[in-house]
Amino acid sequence: MSPEPFLGTTSHTPVRHHILSVLVENKAGVLARIAGLFARRGFNIYSLAVAPAESHARFSRVTIVVDAESAPLEQIVGQLDKLVNVVAITDLAPVDAVERELLLATIQTNTANRTSLLDTLANAGAAIVDVDPGAVTVMLAGTPASCDQLERALESFSDVELHRTGRVALPRLGEAAPQ
């Protein structure tokens, strides 16, 4: 399968990553079971996002970005599937998925950096969601690559506090790309 085109390396996007969209029972301890399995089998998690699934209160959807270099994907999926609370696993190759992620960052501002900051935000398509005289909080909802780009662009500003949610993903519509 072809890897997702992407620019440079950051800790958020492994070279060979896969997205597992995992439907689980919404029960106490399910996340611990998943995290524990990954830890004891030596599988690496790059990001993890959990939320109630669709309209069913009974299920949650866990989106896990896994490092397919740390263990064969077949092994990760096979072990995950043995967890009794795991109902279904959809394995999304990056090329077959629409992935989005949310980035929030608070940047200390002053007269010297304001213009270049505004340029950076405009280029990235980020929005300002909170301001006070000495700082702004900005948000970007976009592809993981665009979040990576903004994160790198913000490295030139001092005093940045940055959070990313980890990605969620759904299968791309229409025919799947050739593997």
């Binding site: 077949e74 092994q75 072990q79 967890l83």
Partner: protein
């Protein structure tokens, strides 16, 4: 009908057909022990919770039915963690019930509180913390379903004290849907395409081996295995967990493979062009150095657990199935290898050159441990069940006891739990009271769980225990001799401390001792005559005896070290 949670728990166990529970009461599980008095279920009161767990394992391995253990919270629960881990490694169906502090106290570091569902998350197939009395029947039914279907394993049910004390309207799930396990689908349709590819691979093979693992016993597929092996004429090896799945007396049986396997079994795997793995998992104790294992062989991997495929070794054909169904499908498709004449000639020459051997014992002693096992086996009635601890004695028992039928060999394979033998023997005897049960034990193992002989005596469970007393932690001693320049570090135990005969007598058992051949014959005969109380025999064996053959840890199976008397023979 209104019941307490405790009554519902016992009634649920009765619904599951449970006849025996191994356990020990305490504060948090107290409510459940009251209705037990009025139940038809037999409770075996153990002296330590670890004993309850291993007894339940022995019961399960001897009968094929799930073993049940019940203990209290906190230390009661943590004491049974080792058997749970052991059952997880060896895929033994177990249902373990633990008491828990009241729901309102969970998370407050209450007296005898521990997070046993958290602790056992990685070593159970699944576990439950029951939140209400009304849910008890569902949890019990689901636990038995999970423990016994698919790849079997241990399931733990943690029941808070207020849950067992509160009232519920009695019900019991009548369909699998009511178990509420939407993510559990153990039944899978046989992949016809994989069957066809397997049959095609078999047709081109001239040097096949049936690599038989514990899954063959778990799926009760010994008859299918015998039929398939005899129809195709293929050689068979049985792993440590599969001893008894194929008769040792059968001409196609090459014996046990692995680190202490029979030379021919190890070498046949190495030289094969096709391995048909039946419920085996390419354990490191079988493969040796994995990159050098059966390098020229294609692999047909049959397993009920798809996570075993390609975990250790690439499978050319992966067939998710229980062993019996897969073999029936192979038979139906007429699977047949090419001519194996040259292969069998090669195999027979290995068997002639490198049979399993040990040095002749001397009349005056010390006894040869292998000879002691062979002598007990010779005098044992057919169908005798053998359990063991872990170490040299375990390997010798696997090598020198001939197993003819399934579920007659019970040991700790994956986990390697010392002290498994005595309680497992008790559990096996409870499950199969009509059978003679011998525990072949080591002196180190015996000291870990011997207190359960008090249980055996008081409950009227007449097992026989043979301690191969070489005064050492023998397997560790062997490694220190061979790989650490004979620098013996913390392995000496003493043959006389404790006095095993007195200890046996103090526990209400018959205690016997043998130091030479005459005494050995006499005490075995005497032990065989005793059928009302447990017997313990202290066999004084040669400390310097080592287990051969041996493949050093991490070495290739090609570099197998044979018995010293066979070294230098042309291979």
């Amino acid at each position: 009908m209104q019941l307490t949670g405790a009554e519902a728990l016992i009634k649920s166990l009765e619904q599951q057909g449970v006849d025996t529970v191994f356990g020990l009461p305490g504060g948090a599980i107290l409510p459940v022990y009251d209705p037990l008095l009025d139940s038809s279920i037999r409770h075996i009161l153990v002296r330590h919770e670890q004993g309850a767990g291993h007894m339940a394992e022995g019961y399960a391995m001897a009968t094929g039915r799930p073993g049940v253990a019940m203990v209290t919270s906190g230390p009661g629960a943590t004491n049974i963690v080792t058997p749970i881990g052991n059952a997880h490694m060896d895929s033994t169906p177990l249902v373990v019930i633990t008491g828990q502090v009241a729901t309102g106290s969970i998370g407050t570091d209450a007296f005898q509180e521990c997070d046993i569902t958290g602790i056992t998350m990685g070593i159970t197939k699944h576990n439950f913390l029951v939140q209400s009395a009304q849910e008890i029947p569902r949890a019990v039914a689901a636990a038995f379903h999970l423990a016994t279907t698919g790849r079997p394993g241990p399931v733990l049910i943690d029941v808070p004290k207020d849950v067992t004390q509160s009232m519920m309207d009695w019900w019991y799930p009548s369909t699998i849907e009511e178990y509420d396990l939407p993510g559990y689908r153990p039944e899978i349709a046989l992949d016809e395409d994989a069957v066809n590819r397997a049959v095609a691979l078999i047709a081109t093979s001239q040097r096949p081996v049936l690599y038989v693992g514990g899954g063959t016993l778990k799926s009760n597929a010994a008859n299918e295995l015998l039929a398939f092996a005899e129809r195709t004429g293929m050689p068979v090896v049985t792993t440590l967990m599969a001893r008894g799945a194929f008769p040792d007396s059968h001409g196609q049986h090459l014996g046990m493979p692995g680190m202490h396997g029979v030379y021919t079994a190890v070498t046949a795997l190495q030289r094969a062009d096709l391995l048909i793995s039946l419920g085996a998992r390419f354990d490191d104790r079988v493969t040796g150095k994995i990159s050098a294992f059966a390098a020229g062989a294609k692999i047909i991997h049959v397993d009920i657990d798809r996570a075993e495929f390609n975990k250790v070794r690439h499978a050319d054909v992966a067939l998710q199935s229980n062993v019996g169904a897969a073999l029936r499908a192979f038979d139906a498709a007429g699977a047949m290898p090419a001519s194996m004449d040259a292969w069998w000639r090669e195999i027979r020459s290995w068997q002639e050159t490198y049979p399993l051997v040990y040095d002749e014992p001397t009349l005056e002693g010390p006894l040869r441990p292998q000879h002691v096992i062979a002598s007990i086996a010779e005098k044992a009635e057919p169908g005798t069940i053998v359990t063991s601890g872990v170490g040299q004695h375990q390997m010798w028992a696997a090598q020198f006891w001939d197993f003819e039928e399934p579920r007659t060999w019970i040991n700790s394979g994956g986990a390697g739990t010392m002290g498994f033998g005595v309680p497992a023997a008790i559990g096996a005897k409870v499950g199969r009271p009509e059978r003679t049960v011998w525990c072949i034990d080591g002196d180190g193992c015996f000291q870990m769980t011997a207190q359960e002989l008090v249980t055996a005596r008081s409950e009227g469970i007449p097992i026989k225990v043979a301690i191969l007393n070489n005064a050492y932690l023998g397997m560790v001693r062997q490694w220190q001799e061979m790989f650490y320049d004979e620098r013996y570090s913390e392995v000496y135990l003493s043959a006389d401390l404790p006095d095993y005969v007195k200890w046996a007598e103090a526990m209400g058992c018959v205690g016997l001792r043998a130091t030479n051949l005459k005494e050995m014959d006499d005490v075995i005969d005497e032990a065989n005559k005793i059928n009302d109380v447990p017997v313990v025999i202290d066999f004084r064996t040669d400390s310097s005896e080592k287990v051969f053959p041996m493949v050093a840890s991490g070495a290739s199976n090609d570099d197998i070290i044979v018995h010293p008397s066979q070294q230098g023979r042309a291979r």
